[in-house]
C-alpha cells in the first residue's frame, strides 16, 4: 500500500516538469532501502495518471540495491537481509550507503522543449 503515496508524489513531479506537454516515458530510480515495488507503483500510476497529461506514459525503473559501508574497512556490501557482516573484514553492520532514494530522473514528452 505504501506505493500509493509515493506514486502521487511522483505524478506531481512529472506533471510539473512536463509543463502541459503529453508525457510518453518516465525514468525512475528506486532504491531498495525504500521498499517500493515497481509493479505496485505501476498499478497506482495507471489509476492516478488517468485524465492527466501523463496518462499512458511508460514507467522505466532502474533499481539500486541497498548497500552498507563497513565502518571497519570501508567496503561497500549488499544489505540483502542475509546478515549484516562485512564480507571483507567480518565486522558487523555499517552506514547505509546506496539505495536510499527514490527519484524521478527524466521524462520524455511529445514535441519540443516544454514551456
Amino acid at each position: 500500500m505504501h506505493e500509493l503515496a509515493i506514486t502521487e508524489a511522483m505524478l506531481d513531479i512529472v506533471l510539473r516538469h512536463a509543463g502541459g506537454a503529453r508525457v510518453r516515458r518516465v525514468r525512475v530510480t528506486v532504491g531498495e532501502w525504500t521498499g517500493y515495488a515497481g509493479d505496485s507503483i505501476e498499478l497506482f500510476w495507471q489509476e492516478l495518471a488517468r485524465g492527466t497529461a501523463a496518462e499512458g506514459a511508460r514507467l522505466e525503473f532502474r533499481y539500486e540495491p541497498a548497500t552498507l559501508r563497513c565502518r571497519g574497512c570501508g567496503a561497500v556490501f549488499a544489505a540483502d537481509g542475509s546478515g549484516l557482516e562485512c564480507p571483507q573484514c567480518g565486522k558487523l553492520g555499517g552506514e547505509p550507503a546506496g539505495g536510499r532514494e527514490c527519484t524521478v530522473d527524466a521524462i520524455e514528452v511529445e514535441g519540443g522543449e516544454p514551456g
Partner: protein
C-alpha cells in the same frame, strides 16, 4: 518528435519541505516532538498511555494518532490518559505524512503544549521514509517480535534516534536474545539511545520518562 527533460528530483522532496515547515512551527512554539514508530502490537499506545499518565501533571502533552481507518480507539485511549488528541485517518495509507501532521497541528491547542507525541501507523517499512518534522524518531520494539528485527529492517533501525524495547517482562517466555538484538542495533546505529521497558510492570519506564521530560524542558 519527443524531447527528454532531465528532472532528478527526490520523490519525497515535497514531503520534506512540509516537514521542515512543521518543525519550524513546533520550534516557534517551544514544543518538543517525538514520532513513535513500531510494528502493530509492539505497544505504542500502551507506552503513550503510561507516558501521558506519568508526565501530564508537569508537562502539557498533545497527541496525534495516525490510523489507517476512522476507528479512533488509540486517540480515545490517549485522550482518556490526559492528552489533547487528534485522530488522523490516513485513508488506508500505511504511514503518516508531513501534510497530515501540519493539518493536525491546527486542531491542537498548541499554546499550552510542550510535548507532542505522534503515534505513527503500525508498520516497520515505510514510515521512516516520510519525515514529519519531529525532533526525534523513536522505534518501539518488543520481545515477542524476535531479536532479528534490526537485521530484517535495517533501514528502520539505521534511521531512528531512540529505540525502546518493550515487553521485557516476557523475556522468560519468548525466544529473544537481548544481546543479539542490541548488537544488531549498535551495528546499524552506533551509540543509539536505547531503553528496556515493560509497560505492563512499569520496569524501566522511569528512565524513559526522565529522558523525555528533559527533552521537553530543554525545548523551551
Amino acid at each position: 518528435m519527443s524531447t527528454t527533460v532531465p528532472v532528478v528530483e527526490r520523490v519525497l522532496s515535497a514531503n520534506d519541505a512540509v516537514a521542515a515547515e512543521v518543525r519550524a512551527r513546533l520550534d516557534g512554539k517551544g514544543i518538543f516532538c517525538a514520532n513513535l514508530m513500531a510494528s502493530p502490537g509492539a505497544g505504542k499506545t500502551s507506552l503513550i498511555e503510561r507516558t501521558v499518565e506519568a508526565l501530564k501533571g508537569e508537562i502539557a502533552i498533545g497527541m496525534i494518532n495516525g490510523d489507517t481507518s476512522a476507528a479512533a480507539f488509540d486517540a480515545e485511549r490517549s485522550q482518556r490518559a490526559g492528552a489533547a488528541s487528534v485522530h488522523v485517518n490516513t485513508g488506508g495509507k500505511c504511514h503518516l505524512e508531513a501534510a497530515m501532521v501540519r493539518n493536525a497541528l491546527s486542531l491542537l491547542p498548541l499554546e499550552g503544549i510542550r510535548l507532542l507525541l505522534i503515534e505513527n501507523v503500525g508498520n516497520l517499512v515505510c514510515p521512516m521514509s516520510w519525515k514529519l518534522g519531529a525532533h526525534v524518531n523513536v522505534l518501539i520494539g518488543s520481545t515477542p517480535e524476535g531479536d532479528d528485527k534490526p537485521y530484517k529492517y535495517p533501514k528502520m533501525y539505521a534511521g531512528v534516534d531512540v529505540v525502546v524495547l518493550n515487553k521485557i517482562d516476557l523475556l522468560p517466555y519468548v525466544e529473544f536474545d537481548c544481546d543479539r538484538f542490541l548488537r544488531g542495533v549498535e551495528a546499524l546505529n552506533p551509540g543509539l539511545r536505547t531503553f528496556r521497558v515493560s509497560c505492563r510492570t512499569g520496569e524501566g519506564l522511569e528512565e524513559w520518562f526522565a529522558w523525555l521530560r528533559d527533552k521537553a524542558r530543554a525545548a523551551r
